[in-house]
């Protein structure tokens, strides 16, 4: 704790020193960033939108896309995990698709989709594949013994999936969700920089980059980082609660 605190202090001292001695006017010091933070939080940006509003709008977009990604990734992942022949059939489609980063979909999404749907689609691209792949991996790791055990108690396929395969895959699924949410959060910034809406943390950054007021750009960056951190922490907390049964719990 003490070490963590001192490393944060050292980080800010370094930042201050670099800002002080940098010849560039575009590296604001921590204090001016703090001032910009308070201004944007209380007064709002050049168009009158406050930092909270930017963050809420970005979060809303990410959570919607995340919900769609989860609602599609988990069932499809379960299906493909259970049916290896089907998985074999769709692998030639899924494998190349998953290496196309969400950012590469942006131009297409601008031409084909409108407003919120564009964000939902881009976040979905980022969330879907980690959730899908981790769900498949989780299903594959399900112990055969447990399945046979359930069968000897007369379980049908539906019961096996709901009572054995799904709970047994949950740790992997949650891992996929955590990674997916992280990726989604990173995509939103890129998506907002290009889309048209005036609100969103990505847009805030771009607005002030355009105005060459870098202190606010850094305010946006820090907000994005902090919210990403908080989201990750929330899922980890949830995992810890859900997986008390696990011997090892990731810190």
């Amino acid at each position: 704790m003490l070490y963590a605190l001192s490393s944060v202090i050292i980080f800010f001292i370094f930042w201050e020193l670099i800002a002080l001695y940098s010849p560039s006017p575009y590296l604001p010091d921590p204090y001016s960033v703090l001032r910009a933070f308070i201004t944007i939080l209380t007064v709002g940006d050049v168009d009158g939108y406050t930092l909270t509003w930017h963050a809420v709008v970005s979060l809303e977009r990410v959570l919607l896309g995340f919900a769609v990604g989860t609602a599609t990734g988990i069932p499809i992942g379960m299906l493909l995990g259970i049916k290896p022949t089907l998985k074999g059939a769709v692998t030639p489609i899924i494998e190349p698709l998953r290496f196309i980063p969400p950012i590469a979909w942006i131009p297409l999404s601008i031409v084909l989709l409108i407003g919120l749907w564009r964000y939902i689609f881009l976040i979905w691209i980022g969330v879907f594949f980690p959730v899908l792949l981790d769900t498949i991996a989780g299903v594959k790791r399900t112990s055969i013994t447990l399945i046979q055990m359930a069968r000897t108690f007369g379980a049908d396929n539906k019961k096996i999936i709901t009572k054995i395969v799904f709970p047994s895959s949950l740790p992997e699924i949650m891992n996929g969700l955590r990674v997916g949410l992280g990726v989604g959060w990173m995509c939103i910034v890129a998506a907002e920089m290009i889309g048209g809406e005036p609100v969103g943390l990505g847009r805030l950054i771009l607005k002030y980059a355009n105005l060459l007021q870098i202190d606010v750009v850094i305010v946006g960056m820090i907000t994005i980082g902090l919210i990403g951190l908080a989201l990750n922490y929330l899922i980890l907390l949830l995992e810890k609660r859900m997986f008390r049964w696990r011997v090892e719990i990731r810190a």
């Binding site: 055990m149 108690f153 007369g154 049964w245």
Partner: protein
Amino acid sequence: MKKAILLESVSKKYEVGSSSLEVIKDLTFDVNENEFVCIVGPSGCGKTTLLRIVSGLEPPSSGRVLVFDTPPDPRRQKFGVIFQEDSLLPWRTVLGNVKFGLELQGYKETEHEKIARTYIELVGLQGFENYYPHQISGGMKKRVAIARALAINPDLILMDEPFADLDAQTRSLMQRELLNVWSKLNKTVLFITHNVEEAVFLAQRVFVLTKRPSKVKQIINIDLPYPRARLSPPFISYRERILTAFHEELEGI
């Protein structure tokens, strides 16, 4: 006497690529109701396959299998199967695991808790209801599996080398407790093991299987009262008889 299990000329072949592997060939035996039967045989002789056939998880390639006069079907009959491997659900507590069979067998939800607690007590695990499997010992896990199997009041208990992974002390303790439970509940038990002493200690009859493809080599009645003393001369002589038959098969491999 009513037959709990009846096998007539049962064979099982697996197709592996173009060749086929015959695991069981022309196997015939029966088990009486409430009887305790042990099956011993060299490893790889198809003991586990046999158990899967008796519990209805797999059909035989040929021959007839009857459990209480019908082909085995876990969806209509109640089997209590105890596996060699750990078969507890790691995400459920001891109580949750014992409830598992009850949930699948369509017991009323209000009864689950009471029945589960009864059987947890029967296997001596009261106080551990809320522990997760990773928090308890191997022997305790086996007790949970046994409680789970017994809780549904099974027609037949099938055990596949359940104590193989336990240390010697725990193993003999578990054997005594199993006999205890069996005498209380009067169930038919088919117990698979490769441990001859275990078979003599537990069973009323011991079936020695041949090496693959398996059939019954010898059936030995153990006419000893329970509880049995492992060092008594008749116990040792039974053990030697079975070991001899067993070793003939081992050498043949």
